[in-house]
Amino acid sequence: MEVKANEIRAEVIKMLVEAGTGHPAGALGSADFWTLLYLGGLIKINPQDPWNEDRDRVVLSAGHYCPVLYAVLAEAGFFPKEELSSLRKIDSRLQGHPVARMLPGIENSSGTLGQGISVAVGMALAARMDKKKHRVICFMGDGEQNEGQVWEAYMSVAKYKLSNLTIVIDRNNIQIDGHTEDVMPLEPLEEKLKAFGFAVIEVDGHNMEEIEKAMNRAKVTFEKPTAIVLHTIPGKNVDFMENDYAWHGRAPGMGETVQALMELHKLRTLDGKIIND
């Protein structure tokens, strides 16, 4: 699965360089999570029947992460992989920020931050009203927690005790203008989430086993909704991007792309020991 995640990272780099704009840091940092979520059997989905009403809903609230979501959706078979190169281009279904139902697997429109979590709460409420068993997973950025709407939504999650909803926050500590704790401090995040009624699980976002365990625990936690705080390194596995907030919203150039892809290739093949593609 780690190898697969690095393939997804390479796809993301290729998409962004082709598009010329986009957000690499979060997409690379969260690639392990996304790969496991869609390709590791953590959710109930069917690429051949993408809108089946019993599917689990994956709501991407932090819309700028979409390249990695598009990459895993294509890999899972929701749409042809060739389409990935159309990201951000005219007449494409792969909008720079996702548009609901424009592409199989895209549940909501996002990009203006803080909205997806409310949409996810609405979906979880509707599921409960209809006595449906599917789950709703909402992925958010840490910078996104700046938005007041997010905390409004958390209050309503607590009110309705929506244990069918799991929120995942990518805690990569960066946002456009710098480090989250400089721009608008979030800490103590865990305590805040707990105070808002969540069962909080902190995980190493690059440890597949930990992610899987947390997601499975969320499924069997019925007394409260679960918040998984995913500690990740922005730009993970591309050395010159790691932990540098400058890469939040900047696409790599040609030279940088070659270097990034070489690094990822090395990781994917474990220095050539596994397979040389």
Partner: protein, 325 residues
């Protein structure tokens, strides 16, 4: 001359005064009985929107979000994406005032099936002052693609509108004014979204009005009858505007006045001006809030002070008629 095809109330000297929101609350209950997909979201204004009966009968279908207009709109979007027909309720100044951006992205962008009901529009919250009044709601919703914007004229019309709003797949904004006003329409008055209604036929000048100003326009027409024959058109649908009806009447009379309890910028007046400007330019005047905020006072007092009465409509009619002579 009253247009009898509209089946309006016969006796105009004894019109029954009823608040629009009463019709809304009643219709919501009736509709929810028929359609289990209908859900109501409310931001701490249950009784103001007359939804207490709905809550009594369908407690599990009423989502009370507290004072959270932004979250409310998002919740509604998620519920609509799950097959529900959510009605989002608050005062017009807060919703769509405070949650416009959620309306834009989570609802309108993909024609998501959310219905937004703006109560106490215009001077409804009179004594509360400018910050609770709303003269911008039609402008900010009209500009959104995929949006339908309604401003029905009275209690009966609201009741019919609610059913049509529910049956239609896509986002709708409907505003209601607060005070109990004269009911002009009856149960048999036709109502179709997007179809303007000629309430009174005339040959000299057209008055296009919506909401509370339809009655004022009818009063103005009655007062001028004999000297100026005024055609009064109830434009309950601001978007999509009934272009055909607007042009047809303008062609007939050659002069147009618009009247709305809303800013003259961006609402009905603007919509009519846009259509006539492109299709059939004629001299035109707009009655409405003239690029200003309100203040505290009783709604009736404020309507007088800010020129939202039949007198202002008559004044504008005379300006156009005299100009022509």
């Amino acid at each position: 001359m009253i247009n009898h095809e509209m089946n309006l109330v016969e006796d105009w000297n004894n019109l029954e005064k009823r608040p629009m929101r009463d019709g809304y609350g009643e219709a919501m209950v009736e509709m929810a009985r028929k359609n289990t997909k209908v859900v109501v979201l409310i931001a701490d204004l249950l009784e103001s929107l007359k939804l207490d009966e709905f809550k009594k009968e369908f407690p599990e279908r009423l989502i009370e979000v507290g004072i959270q207009e932004q979250n409310m709109m998002g919740l509604a979007a998620g519920m609509a994406l799950s097959g529900k027909i959510p009605f989002v309720n608050s005062f017009a100044c807060f919703s769509p005032g405070r949650n416009w951006e959620q309306l834009r992205i989570s609802v309108c962008l993909t024609k998501n099936n959310v219905k937004v009901i703006g109560g106490h529009a215009g001077f409804g919250n009179g004594t509360d002052g400018a910050n609770q009044q709303s003269f911008e709601d039609m402008a900010i919703t009209r500009v959104l693609p995929n949006m339908i914007v309604l401003a029905p004229a009275d209690y009966e019309q609201i009741k019919k509108a609610v059913w049509r709003v529910m049956a239609l797949d896509g986002p709708v904004y409907m505003r209601m004014t607060k005070p109990a006003r004269e009911g002009m329409t009856t149960r048999t008055t036709p109502f179709e979204i997007g179809k303007a209604q000629v309430f009174r036929e005339g040959k000299d000048i057209s008055v296009f009005a919506c909401g509370s100003m339809v009655y004022e326009a009818m009063l103005a027409a009655k007062e001028l009858a004999g000297t100026v024959e005024v055609e009064v058109i109830n434009v309950h649908t601001i978007k999509p505007l009934d272009t055909e009806a607007v042009v047809k009447s303008a062609r007939k009379t050659g002069k147009v006045v618009t009247a709305e309890e809303h800013s003259i910028i961006g609402g009905l007046g603007s919509a009519v001006a846009e259509v006539l400007g492109e299709n059939y330019p004629v001299p035109m005047r707009r009655v409405g809030m003239r690029d200003t905020f309100g203040e505290s006072g009783e709604p009736e007092e404020l309507m007088k002070k800010y020129g939202l009465t039949k007198n202002e409509i008559i004044k504008e009619i005379k300006i156009l008629v005299n100009k022509n002579e």
